[in-house]
């Protein structure tokens, strides 16, 4: 079943064509890779799916629902959550506090409960804290839970970014360059985490430059070049695709 469908999406930034006529589908439970040279439009496509930008033409549908006009937090509420390319974290908060914020969607407290700090709200906060700790431990961040996010090493910050997205219990998690700038052992632990997340039922869409990593984890890969889709297939097919080789090697 196709969870997310993009139909001939185009995006123009005042004359500059960032995406032209890109169509794609994501099936439930798969790991879809999105690759392409710099400036190919990968991040733009992410921004359109997650509601940061609206497409100039075309539409994105999620479970048959048109996402037109929905902004970031509404799309997150539907279950499509993204992580960011830069180290986008609440830097002055501890890891645990970051995670508490990220549990906003799944925690069940209603507005009035949290305003008056009712006993059920306090109980909920304790449960939320346990869930946050569990995810941190699981991702190997248990030892740094009281560290400020800004003080963490790069690899940990990246993991925390994924942990934040995961806390929302998303249907589809969009990962923007999850292993960029990491050392090989950090990459390995990140890939292990991503595979586990996927095995637990979360559909993943990954933008990445690291070919080895993306070939390793993806079920299917879409290749963009200069805003156009030039290939769509399994890692083996992509590796042998003439046009892809051309795009990368010039």
């Amino acid at each position: 079943m196709d969870l997310l469908v993009g139909e001939s999406i185009s995006k123009h930034f005042s004359g500059l064509v960032a995406l032209s006529n890109v169509s794609f589908t994501i099936a439930k439970g798969e790991i879809l890779g999105l690759i392409g040279p710099n400036g190919a439009g990968k991040t733009t496509l992410f921004n359109i799916i997650s509601g940061v930008h609206q497409p100039t033409n075309g539409k994105v549908t999620y479970r048959g629902k048109d996402l037109k006009g929905l902004n970031l937090h509404k799309i997150a509420r539907l279950g499509i959550v993204r992580t960011f390319q830069a180290n986008m974290l609440f830097g002055k908060m501890t890891c645990l506090q970051n995670m508490m914020v990220a549990h906003y969607l799944p925690s069940r407290t209603r507005f009035w409960q949290t305003l008056f700090n009712t006993p059920s709200e306090r109980k909920e906060m304790r449960e939320t804290q346990q869930s946050a700790m569990k995810i941190l431990e699981h991702l190997g961040l248990g030892d740094v839970k009281y560290e400020r996010a800004a003080n963490l090493p790069h690899g940990y910050q990246r993991l925390l970014g994924v942990a934040l997205g995961l806390s929302t219990k998303p249907e589809i998690l969009l990962l923007d360059e999850p292993v960029t700038g990491m050392n090989p052992s950090e990459i390995e632990s990140m890939l292990r985490v991503l595979k586990e997340i996927n095995a637990n039922g979360t559909t993943l869409m990954v933008v990445e430059h690291n070919m080895r990593a993306i070939m390793n984890i993806c079920d299917r890969i879409i290749v963009l070049s200069f805003g156009k889709k030039i290939a769509d297939g399994s890692p083996t097919e992509i590796r042998q695709n003439e046009e892809v080789l051309g795009a990368y090697l010039g």
Partner: protein
């Protein structure tokens, strides 16, 4: 032995009792009048701080004081409502007004929002002048009634002297501070902190940042409106030039000088600057200059405001105290 929290709580409790007992030994109406003025602007400054915590700057709070003052004055004089119903309705009207303005204008942030609120504050004052049929125009509304007396078993409170006003103001300040503290502490205080630090990340995690910004703005303006209503029935009059741009700007300086980091910051800022104004009555024309100098000195020397200075001193004092105690009673160390 020296639990920081117990010490802190007893300190604030003592301070609160002291503030409650002031009218027992201060009979000078002039001092009570000054304290009431401090109360009014404490509420305004608390609101400015709450708005700042949501990442916005408001330079239009004087306008919301006027909305509250005129709402209450008109409800009492035109519709014959009691003061007590009117002050609560005035707060609600101002809050709803702020929600309407917030949803339209909060799509812009920080400095841009500050400019818009500045314009809105002035627009409110000008609109009141223009609607002279209802509001009395530039002359304002006079001969407003004092709050209706409170009949309690064994106690009759009549608003004929400064003392009952003082207590009413004190209750208003405490209620406002508690309410705004609750809003600030939504979800353990992390939510507004998150919105302030990285609003796009908060959005991506499903948080409707606009909603919470509007919430902070409307709660802040609602209590400001109640303070305005109080003022109208304290001075027994209200005029469109009663609160203007300068008051809005002062409200922001109170918060910055007092410190954004604590809910006591704005109150300390107001107490310091308004009492300074009273001491320097003779040099009133230099008030703005004096504010500017104090403002710059505080920004340059203690960027966290006077509260951050107090917190540092407090930490140092309790550390010294603890060290002295441990020296005298070494067995405490093992318990710590």
């Amino acid at each position: 032995m020296f639990k920081g929290k117990a010490l802190k709580v007893s300190f604030w409790l003592a301070l609160l009792i002291f503030i409650f007992l002031i009218p027992l030994w201060v009979k000078d109406p002039y001092i009570l009048h000054t304290l009431i003025g401090i109360g009014i602007f404490s509420i305004v400054a608390l609101g400015v701080r709450l708005i700042m915590l949501s990442g916005q700057w408001s330079f239009g709070q004087a306008g919301f004081l006027l909305v509250g003052a005129y709402s209450s004055a008109l409800l009492v004089t035109r519709l014959g409502l009691s003061f007590w119903a009117a002050i609560i309705l005035a707060g609600l009207i101002t809050a709803v007004f702020a929600i309407a303005i917030g949803y339209i204008t909060m799509r812009v942030k920080a400095v841009y929002f500050a400019i818009i609120t500045l314009a809105i504050g002035e627009a409110i004052s000008l609109s009141i002048r223009a609607m002279s049929g209802i509001t009395g125009g530039s002359y304002g509304l006079y001969n407003l009634p004092a709050p209706n007396p409170i009949h309690l078993p064994g106690l009759l409170v009549e608003f004929t002297s400064k003392t009952p006003y003082y207590y009413l103001m004190l209750i208003l300040v405490i209620v406002s501070a508690l309410a705004m503290y609750r809003v600030e502490r939504i979800r353990g205080g992390n939510l507004f902190d998150a919105i302030l630090q990285k609003d796009i990340l908060a959005e991506s995690l499903g948080i409707n940042t606009l909603k919470y910004r509007v919430l902070a703005f409307s709660v802040a303006c609602g209590f400001t409106g109640m303070a305005g209503a109080f003022a109208a029935h304290y001075y027994l009059m209200t005029r469109p030039d009663f609160y203007g741009l300068l008051h809005s700007i002062y409200a922001v300086t109170y918060v910055i000088i007092g410190g954004v980091g604590s809910i006591f910051g704005p109150i300390i800022g107001v107490i310091l600057l308004l009492s300074a104004v009273e001491f320097l009555r003779a040099a009133a024309m230099y008030q703005a200059v004096a504010y500017a100098v104090v403002f710059l000195v505080v920004i340059l020397i203690f960027p966290g405001g006077l509260v951050s200075l107090g917190q540092q001193l407090w930490a140092r004092a309790t550390a010294l105290l603890r060290r002295a105690t441990v020296k005298r009673y070494p067995e405490i160390r093992s318990r710590e």
